[in-house]
């Protein structure tokens, strides 16, 4: 790559950032995300991996919030605050990975279908349609049931069921990009399929993919919580959805132990909201006509 393209890319990134900063809600979302990411990354230092240990649990079962345990304890006597902080790691990781997988599949299929057209596009779009009409939660439940309980299962189940929207958007964008004259020129100069797709189409659909990913993450985090709540997550891993499931299994609802139930749900909502705000901000920077930020 020439230094010219680099300069151009850097300039456009800077422009993007300037515009993004002007989106107030987006900025809040980003700050919130940075904080949560920091907590997730430093969780081993903040609370230590011991927080998950059941044999060394410091408290007794289901204690109410106190000075020692600000959010109380779970049924094993573990500190809920510690688990909440630790759970951020899994919930965020699953959300990010699942969204990345989903958008990667969607982008690949979208670009290929948009670029090649013909029977391949027809077939690809038929498959996409099929996935679109499938109730995705039902499909994810089935997938999670089929495979063994693990974090990867959840990532796969979410990734495989949620890509069609991205595929459709990317395909439309690919067709739009390829109708531009310079693609014609690139082809005339001997650029093959691979070249056109990776050098011209991909950079042009990237912004769309970025906003799509951000929006996808919040959905993925919610779906992760849903699957864990339905008992389809890995029970040996601490995640927010899993904490809600534990709380329900322990009977926290009827016993009125709201302090067990409330924090994980709020954490999920905050992260999902933060990603949504960021995604909408990116969307409106890239496409002011969408009007999300106006």
């Amino acid at each position: 790559m020439t230094s010219l393209t680099w300069t151009r890319r850097r300039a456009s990134a800077a422009r993007f950032w300037r515009q993004y900063r002007r989106q107030r809600a987006g900025a809040y979302g980003l700050v919130a995300l940075a904080l949560i990411a920091l907590v997730a990354l430093t969780a081993p230092l903040l609370v230590g991996g011991d927080v998950r240990s059941v044999t060394d649990a410091p408290g007794t079962a289901l204690e109410a919030p106190s000075g020692r345990f600000p959010l109380g304890t779970d049924q094993f006597g573990r500190s809920l605050l510690g688990l909440l902080l630790w759970g951020a790691r899994v919930s965020l990781a699953v959300g990010l990975l699942a969204a990345a997988l989903s958008v990667a599949i969607g982008t690949l299929i979208g670009i290929l279908a948009g670029h090649y057209g013909g029977w391949f596009a027809t077939l690809a779009m038929r498959v996409t349609d099929w996935f679109l009409v499938m109730p995705s939660l039902v499909l994810a439940i089935v997938l999670a049931t089929v495979m063994s309980r693990s974090v990867w299962t959840v990532v796969l189940a979410i990734g495989i069921t949620s890509w069609p929207t991205t595929a459709r958007l990317v395909r439309a964008q690919t067709i739009a990009v390829e109708s531009r004259p310079y693609i014609e020129r690139a082809r005339a100069l001997g650029g093959g399929h691979g070249h056109v797709m990776s050098r011209h189409v991909l950079p042009n659909v990237m912004p769309l993919v970025l906003s799509q990913t951000t929006l996808c993450i919040s959905t993925a985090i919610l779906t992760e919580a849903t699957l864990a709540f339905l008992g389809l997550g890995d029970p040996t891993v601490v995640s927010w959805g899993g904490m809600l499931q534990d709380a329900r299994e322990a009977g926290a609802v009827s016993s009125g132990h709201w302090w067990y139930l409330a924090p994980p749900g709020i954490a999920i909502a905050v992260v999902a909201l933060a990603f949504t705000l960021c995604g909408r901000a990116i969307e409106s920077v890239l496409n002011p006509k969408l009007g999300a930020g106006r």
Binding site: S53, T55, A61, G231, V253, S254, S255
Partner: protein, 607 residues
């Protein structure tokens, strides 16, 4: 193993998703929910159940909730005493076996009548058994009881004669509902008949089924002519709650009178609630660790992927030594369980057996370390135990994803065994039966409900229960096949003397313990709660400190007495009336806004 609840006939007419004009066709009992004292003095006992009814046909029903309903609506030949679960008369008043042990003669009582007025006779019983023997569809649920029957006859209305192919010790524990021949002989295909279309359903138990809505409720009315005396409540309702917490909340509000299967937290919270009694009784289940002894079939074919190190008794013993049963009872069950010993829970005193001091595998992590060292499983650089074949001791354990206890105990095992240098992967599945039947597991959480007659739970560890070939599935629990165990089992199966048989059953358990493939960690209690302002008294089983739901017999609901008129508890319906207007108002509002908008726009057009 507890799955879900009730059945069929929701006839809600509904034109569209918006216009709601449901017509209710149903009984008109006025009493709200589980209130003991309804508007017209009707006493209703409402029981929350978490299982859906699979079928109301006694020939098909397999779930606990359905078989409990059948206990209430049909008499069995024999029953179990509420005090100590010994066999007592049911439809049969007495019974005797021939000297060759192959012919059993039952005397049928004269004072049992079907709810349509006809007398229940030996002919009904003979027809029920014969149908199960000749029509395999009718054998779906209880065929194991009649598999060994040669012939069943009723020489007169008071005498039932059963001829056996070989002696069978369970002849006084035939848990088979006897159905009225004059109703059931009209049934064509037993595999499709669910017995839930025409109410009331004719039976001769203490209750009669009067109504049923799938996944909502089963309603029963007392059988006024029941020979032991009619139940005291005017109605018994089994109401289905998918969610245990919802059931507990309903109990707190008085919507239901009784809730079984409480979690420790629920029990603790309910202890301090007003008008609620928590009943913490010894359970009938054992909760065990099972190790894969190398899955095999009767034809000798070996299959599955069990870890070879588990074939070494020292490894299994070390694993069991590292398990702290006390902690499991204290932390996981929070005291609502009894530490595990032998195979059969202490509730069944006649058969309960404890390991002797010499054979007992108690909590002793140091001993476990020592055993592993001696057996040649050394720690490698990273602290992991490795076998002589170089394979690390990394095990998988099958856990039921729907059972919180499996998941909780799994966490403890991971840490305890981790300290020994043994890795553990907790494999939680909705459906463990597949890898289990294929032998694709190292360890598994195992548990069975034990009946007053232990024959079945003992039979699942015999060689005869193994699958015929590796491709089949057998009745085996855990692929255990041990000659000495089989000998003892065969002897108890034909032993008609209760004391002799009990002794054999204890020796069986001792042998099972010594094979070291299974280790019982705990006997979970039955934790349940009921409203004392609805139920004044109720019989538990055993009568002294026993449980209420899922008894071997109809004692609890039959004996329950309504509490004297309860004052409050009607918070739901009285405050509810204006509250139900909420959603109606919301719909009206939405419609109103739409209409207003339209009006305005037409008005605008006119201007």
């Amino acid at each position: 193993m507890v799955t879900t609840a009730p059945h069929r006939s929701l006839r809600l007419l509904l034109a569209s998703a918006v216009a709601v004009t449901p017509l209710a066709i149903g009984p008109t009992a006025r009493a709200a929910g589980g209130e003991a004292d309804g508007g017209d003095g009707n006493t209703v006992l409402t029981v929350a159940v978490s299982q859906s009814v699979d079928s109301l046909s006694p020939f098909l029903a397999q779930r606990l909730v359905s078989t409990s309903i059948h206990r209430l609506t049909y008499e069995y030949l024999t029953n179990y005493d509420a005090k100590d679960a010994r066999t007592i008369p049911g439809l049969a008043t007495s019974w005797k076996s021939s000297p060759d042990k192959l012919t059993w003669t039952y005397t049928i009582r004269e004072n049992s009548r079907w709810s349509d007025g006809r007398r229940a006779t030996a002919e009904d019983a003979a027809w029920t058994f014969t149908t199960m023997m000749t029509d395999e569809n009718a054998a779906t649920a209880n065929g194991s009881f009649t598999a060994n029957f040669e012939k069943v006859t009723a020489p007169d209305p008071r005498t039932l004669v059963i001829k056996l192919k070989k002696p069978q010790a369970t002849m006084t524990a035939l848990d088979v509902p006897i159905v009225p021949k004059h109703i059931w002989e009209k049934v064509g295909d037993f595999s499709k008949f669910n017995n839930d279309k025409r109410f009331p359903i004719v039976g001769n138990g203490p209750f009669v089924i009067t109504d049923y809505k799938v996944d909502q409720y089963v309603k029963l009315k007392p059988n006024k002519t029941f020979w032991r005396g009619a139940p005291k409540f005017d109605e018994l309702v089994l109401r289905y709650y998918k969610d245990g917490d919802a059931a507990v909340a309903a109990l707190r509000k008085g919507e239901v009178s009784f809730v079984p299967n409480l979690t420790p937290a629920q029990a603790t919270a309910l202890r301090s609630a007003e008008n609620i009694k928590v009943n913490d009784a010894p359970g009938r289940r054992f909760y065990a660790l099972a190790t894969n002894p190398g899955a095999r079939a009767k034809d000798g074919g070996k299959f599955g992927s069990g870890h070879p190190a588990l074939l070494d008794p020292a490894v299994r013993k070390a694993l069991f030594h590292a398990v702290d049963r006390g902690t499991i009872v204290d932390k996981v069950f929070q005291g609502h369980a009894v530490e595990g010993e032998g195979y059969i829970p202490p509730r069944f005193g006649t058969y309960f057996w404890k390991p002797a001091a010499a054979q007992r595998i108690g909590h002793d992590p140091a001993k476990a370390e020592q055993l592993l060292d001696q057996a040649g499983y050394r720690r490698n650089g990273s602290g992991k135990r490795v076998g002589k074949d170089g394979r690390a001791l990394d095990f998988r354990i099958l856990c039921h994803a729907t059972d919180p206890n499996d998941k909780a105990v799994g966490k403890y095992l991971q840490e305890w065994w981790g300290e020994l240098g043994i890795g553990l992967k907790v494999d939680c599945l909705d459906n463990v039966s597949d890898p289990w039947a294929k032998g694709d597991y190292d360890l598994a959480f195992d548990g069975w409900s034990v009946n007053p007659d232990p024959d079945f739970v003992l039979s699942i560890h015999t060689c005869a229960a193994l699958p015929a070939t590796p491709k089949d599935t057998g009745a085996t629990d855990n692929f255990i096949c041990d000659k000495r165990y089989d000998e003892l089992y065969a002897r108890q199966a034909v032993e008609y003397d209760p004391a002799e048989r009990a002794d054999l059953v204890k020796r069986l358990q001792s042998r099972l313990y010594d094979t070291g493939y299974m280790n019982v960690m705990a006997y979970p209690n039955a934790v349940e709660a009921y409203r004392t302002d609805h139920i004044a008294s109720i019989t538990t089983m055993p009568a002294d400190g026993g449980n209420i739901y899922g008894q071997d017999g109809y004692w609890s609901w039959w004996s329950a007495r309504p509490a004297a008129a309860s004052g409050d508890g009607d918070s739901g319906s009285s405050t509810g009336v204006w509250l139900v207007l909420g959603p109606a108002a919301a719909v009206l509002l939405a419609v109103g806004v739409l209409v207003a908008v339209r009006r305005r726009s037409t008005a605008d057009d006119r201007e």
